[in-house]
Symmetry: C2
């Protein structure tokens, strides 16, 4: 990943990104102190990424954490020639490859932008330094990680269901805003079913409501 | 869940459980201070659970976190009449239902002991108080949660693979000690394959080595 180029205004000053959507999410979990806010303002940058671009390619190291201001992003992996969507997220979600980030091993997944997307970005090294410099940030992150860990369990749960209707019911329960926004081929892949099965299940569900 | 009864020695003093295996694991992630250790010694209890007993039943609330000193534990959920194993862990692992614990909602999973098992137990309320009383414990927990979050992603990843051989290869890579210890019906269920398929794949793998 290249760092985003500062979009010069002619003056020799890098633009300060608006990190308020990120602060709002962090504050939802635990109060962000002025000291944390100042650190984040200094180290968070913004970037725009065009639809279909990769934020992370398998085999590479995950060294950034992204926050989606606007847009949609998926994780996917490959099994032979098959492309398997492992998660799909939109605005106000944090995105990274926890497996690679945590263990400093090459990523087994790809991260791809599904719509033209506005992101906030922090380098993992800066995040690690934040944990050391302002230990209270561990309190924010602990609560955030509990939430993301629970999300990962929920994804593992959906993946283990065997009946297409049960899978789609759970998907609607937790991801309803995605159902009419994300191309169906990604949703079908995420749910481990063919596009035909997904269409059939969707028809059934829409005739019920 | 009933709290374990203190095993009286005739004197009016509850026995102090040996929490050193738990401390060793926490210390592996981040240094445990004497203050944290004293708090844990005061609030952690021990219990023995017989093979096949449930630690948590779906529909109930998860209000304890367990540490396995000796034994094996699985999570499972039900889809109709089908019993689906969602994880299997052994010694030195922490066990709870993060979904229920985090959101204070009834559990969608069951937790069952697979062997006669020795556990250390902390009540979630005591854990939450620890985060507030000794904020530095958030640093320990943040690192621990990163690890467990990565584990959950790995489980979701295995569940999404479609080929039985790829699933079993990943299982061996991350859970080899379980392969000859846990009854095969649970491993087959965890990997989303029939017992017959698992046996066939195992034969193939053992003839390779």
């Amino acid at each position: 990943m290249n760092r985003p180029e500062p979009q010069g205004s002619g003056k020799d000053v890098a633009p300060v990104p608006d990190i308020s959507p990120l602060l709002a999410v962090l504050n939802y979990f635990h109060p962000v102190t002025p000291e944390m806010e100042a650190y984040l303002k200094k180290h968070v940058t913004s970037m725009s990424v065009r639809k279909r671009k990769l934020l992370l390619k398998e085999g590479n190291f995950s060294d950034h954490v992204y926050f989606i201001v606007k847009g949609a992003v998926r994780g996917f992996t490959r099994e032979g020639q098959k492309d398997i969507t492992t998660w799909i997220v939109v605005e106000n979600e944090l995105v990274s490859s926890i497996l690679s980030l945590n263990q400093r091993i090459p990523s087994i997944e790809n991260i791809q932008v599904l719509e033209n997307t506005e992101l906030l970005v922090i380098r993992n090294d800066d995040l690690q330094q934040l944990y050391e410099l302002i230990p209270a940030f561990n309190h924010v992150a602990r609560k955030l990680l509990q939430h993301y860990y629970a999300d990962a369990e929920r994804r593992a749960f959906i993946a283990r269901l065997t009946k297409a209707e049960n899978k789609y019911r759970h998907f609607l329960l937790h991801h309803e805003p995605l159902a009419n926004r994300i191309p169906l081929k990604y949703i079908a892949s995420y749910l481990g079913m063919t596009l035909e099965t997904l269409s059939r299940v969707r028809k059934k569900f829409s005739s019920k409501t």
